[in-house]
Amino acid sequence: MTNSSDPPEGRVRLAHGAGGRAMRELIESVFLEGVSDPEARAMGDAAALPLGDRFLVVTTDAHVVMPAFFPGGDIGRLSICGVVNDLAMAGCCDVLALTSSVIVEEGYPIEALRRIHRSMQLACVEASTKIVSGDTKVMQKGEIDGVVLSTSGMGLADRVIRDSGLEEGDAIIVTGTLGDHGLAVLSARHALGLEGALRSDVAPLNGLVRAVLARAGSELHAMKDPTRGGVTSALVEMAEKARVSIVVDAQSLPMSDAGRAAAEILGIDPLMVANEGKALIGVARGAVDSVLAELRAHPLGAQAACIARVQRGVPGEVMLDTGFGTRRLVERDDTPLPRIC
């Protein structure tokens, strides 16, 4: 609803940042205005530019998370992993370099900045990459909430993987338990005092993806990381772009005990919640067992499971088979968890 005092096109709402339809509409109506480049218009998480017989893959990601420190990670680790994973999902596992901008509020504790920086460095080591350039800005107290990080990254890939490459008959594998990041952040934000081992899954996936790409080769058809909007949003986008239908088997969805308990207590659908260390991988049916074996041999893929199948059906439709019945998975237009990544 609008007030009479509102400007004609309204104002930015939180829903515009939730990763769903409202955000795509904002991007299309504002940021893609006058933009004809097909790579930009594809609205992928990373762009791939031909460079000789290879591709230069570039991406950028801003991070505002409340609280900045949460069980299992912090905004620094998130900022590195977010970019590394966007590159990895495009098939770029060798990350040449990152850049990082820090915007910080006057009065912010320098010790907290040090902690953030240390965890960025550690994440870079895990991802075998480095930050080669940076920028620092300080805003007046109250003009920004704590700290905002913006990170860009680039690397080379021999073959570009798209989130649009699903084929009829494919299976979809998820690399581990679902919902841990969003639930851990939500629990920390509201000091819900949930006991147990609920921790964010934030981790760089390029090592895991490199192993899978080497094993599956051309039988790996599509990849996407289920961040904002969770598995639901990611699968809907994959199904829409590939013009296929997806059926998810609820019984096969991997969850940690702590994540399951938190989702139950909070009444939140874990399929709608952000993950920061998971990938959805579409592979040819025949490659499922070997890809699962490869994933499960890696520490970040121990809980990997095949969760869905791709079929002809209604293009863009994602169904959940609960065992008791079926329902369609639909993206949210708002977010139950604002500002989690």
């Binding site: 609803m1 007030n3 005092s5 104002r11 709402r13 829903a15 339809r21 409202a22 509201h190 609820a250 019984q251 096969s252 969805l253 991997p254 969850m255 399951r260 009444g267 659908d269 874990p270 499971a305 439709e317 169904m319 959940l320 088979d321 609960t322 065992g323 008791f324 019945g325 079926t326 329902r327 369609r328 998975l329 639909v330 949210r332 237009d333 708002d334």
Partner: protein, 371 residues
């Protein structure tokens, strides 16, 4: 077992067996049975587990006035908006933020600079009030379940600057309205297990005697719901009208007496308009006069009287929330559903609340169920 649904009350094999028995009973009888649930959490569970996709064709399960957010009337929202816009600090549950009043919501008021904060428990309202000297107004909503929590706060030495603007409602009063309607086709009622945990199932005995329609109290896991539906359908087919407690692990005959005593020390029943439904005698829970010092409608009556009257937005007249909440229509019968009325641009309250029928149907893709 790995998976979301490994709990005992989500056992798929048992669920299938119950579904088959339900099918069998109805096909043997060759009748159509229409029942109603009066709880948004039941609709949520139907949607979450895709249960409607496997309901027998001969079974109609209609949605009743089971969402406290949805039945909060536009003038009640307008009163909360008015207090927030006059500069008072207003706290409420998250679901209430975007519920449209006549032509604006608390979220709109907040975007315009009003201080509206979301809380998760009534106790937070008291904590916040204790941390400040300015008046703190808690716009309190919900059925008997959350009303008890509000009552508990007001009974436990509440800070003098805490005020409650009550939009709490009493569900049994609305069931009475539905059952008394001459046009009703409802043959039995599925009662909400959490509300009945407070009120006790004994509360429904007089209702059943009066209307000669069975009531089965149901929990919220798939097996709870399927077994309760089976018990309800069997009663209807046998021409019986009894109260059956199908959620005995939580619900007793007398209910939670301590909670009920707290509830009725703080609140008294008042007549009120429920959005889209009707005037519901005894449906509103108003603060009793003993708590007038904390009653925002008393303490801020001058502010409320001074607030400008709001005119409804143009498409509000096409909203079918009322018919949907009384089981006469389903969301997809409404022309606005999914087009101009969506969770990000709600016209009616049923599209706002996570317990609202329209929102549930929209988000769980119920508008395009394939069996």
């Amino acid at each position: 077992m790995n998976g979301l649904e490994r709990l005992e009350f989500r056992d798929v094999a048992r669920g299938r067996a119950l579904q088959e028995r339900l099918d069998q009973r109805l096909s043997e009888s060759n009748q159509t049975v229409t029942v109603m649930h009066v709880c948004g959490s039941h609709e949520q569970a139907f949607a979450r587990y895709g249960l409607r996709a496997r309901f027998p064709k001969a079974l109609q399960v209609q949605m009743g006035p089971g969402c406290p957010v949805c039945v909060t009337d536009a003038p009640e929202i307008d009163r909360a908006v008015a207090l927030a816009e006059r500069g008072y600090r207003l706290l409420t549950y998250g679901d209430m933020l975007r519920v449209p009043g006549a032509n604006t919501s608390l979220a709109d008021a907040r975007a315009g600079g009003a201080r509206v904060e979301v809380i998760y428990a009534a106790t937070q309202a008291a904590e916040i009030a204790r941390g400040t000297r300015e008046p703190v107004i808690f716009f309190a909503t919900g059925f008997e379940t959350t009303a008890v929590a509000t009552a508990a706060v007001l009974l436990k030495d509440p800070p003098a600057n805490l005020f409650v603007l009550s939009a709490h409602k009493w569900v049994p009063a609305a069931m009475e309205v539905v059952a008394s309607s001459p046009e009703t086709t409802i043959q039995g009622y599925l009662a909400a297990g959490h509300a009945a945990t407070i009120t006790g199932y004994g509360l429904f005995e007089a209702f059943v005697a009066r209307h000669q329609r069975p009531v089965v109290v149901a929990g919220f896991e798939p097996l709870d719901i399927l077994s309760a539906l089976l018990l309800l359908v069997e009663q209807v087919l046998a021409g019986k009208a009894e109260v059956v407690n199908a959620f005995p692990r939580s619900v007793s005959q007398a209910g939670n007496q301590r909670a009920l005593r707290a509830l009725f020390r703080v609140f008294q029943m008042g007549d009120g308009d429920w959005r889209g439904i009707a005037h519901v005698p005894g449906g509103d829970l108003c603060l009793s006069s003993a708590f007038a010092a904390h009653d925002a409608s008393v303490q801020f009556s001058a502010d409320l009287d001074a607030a400008p009257r709001r005119l409804p937005r143009a498409d509000a007249a096409q909203c079918r929330c009322g018919a949907i909440m009384t089981g006469r229509l389903t969301p997809k019968d409404c022309g606005l559903f999914g087009s101009s009325c969506r969770p990000d641009t709600p016209v009616g309250a049923c599209m706002v609340s996570t317990e609202g029928a329209c929102r549930i149907w929209y988000e769980h893709g119920q508008h395009e169920v394939s069996a």
